[in-house]
Subunit: 110 residues, 2 copies
Amino acid sequence: MEQTTTEEKSKDRSGWNTVYIGRQKPVMNYVLATLTCLNNSPNVILKARGAAISLAVDVAQITMHRFVQGVKVSNVKIDTEQMQSEEGGTRNVSTIEIELTTAGEPEAQA
Amino acid sequence: MEQTTTEEKSKDRSGWNTVYIGRQKPVMNYVLATLTCLNNSPNVILKARGAAISLAVDVAQITMHRFVQGVKVSNVKIDTEQMQSEEGGTRNVSTIEIELTTAGEPEAQA
């Protein structure tokens, strides 16, 4: 409810919806954000880094198996990001991007 | 050193090497197991579930960026597994499988 702005979801330049997954909120909040995005777009990217990576996989699996039929994982990318550490140096953090696609949407039937 | 048997690495029926990643050991142990597998096989699968998923991504990234040149992620699969919980019921756990391949091996050049 409060502060669901750029933190939780935002629209990419490319028109894709992106859900940034952190560890501050319950998993279901992110599932809800993902479902909202899937309502507006046939594609959603879930992004997470560090320890939130496993949460992102949970969000994808819960969305696919419990809420929306016909959603599938179209792509999974893993990468490394350089982050500024508090002591001044940089440290590497792993990242994940999970693309969900509503394949075979009713569009075709209409 | 102790007990690096089926727990840490094993050979699949298909001949692929698999490294199971947990949270009991330091990340570098799993990186070492991955490097050992890559010495014997051009393909390695890193498997993890639950909170160890983010560790598996770390292991893949550290292996690729710090130790072996020319290794790349050929596939990432995410899935759900049913686990028996201690109270008797079942619960769902997310899993990940990261395939690493030593692409561009001398094979192609020979």
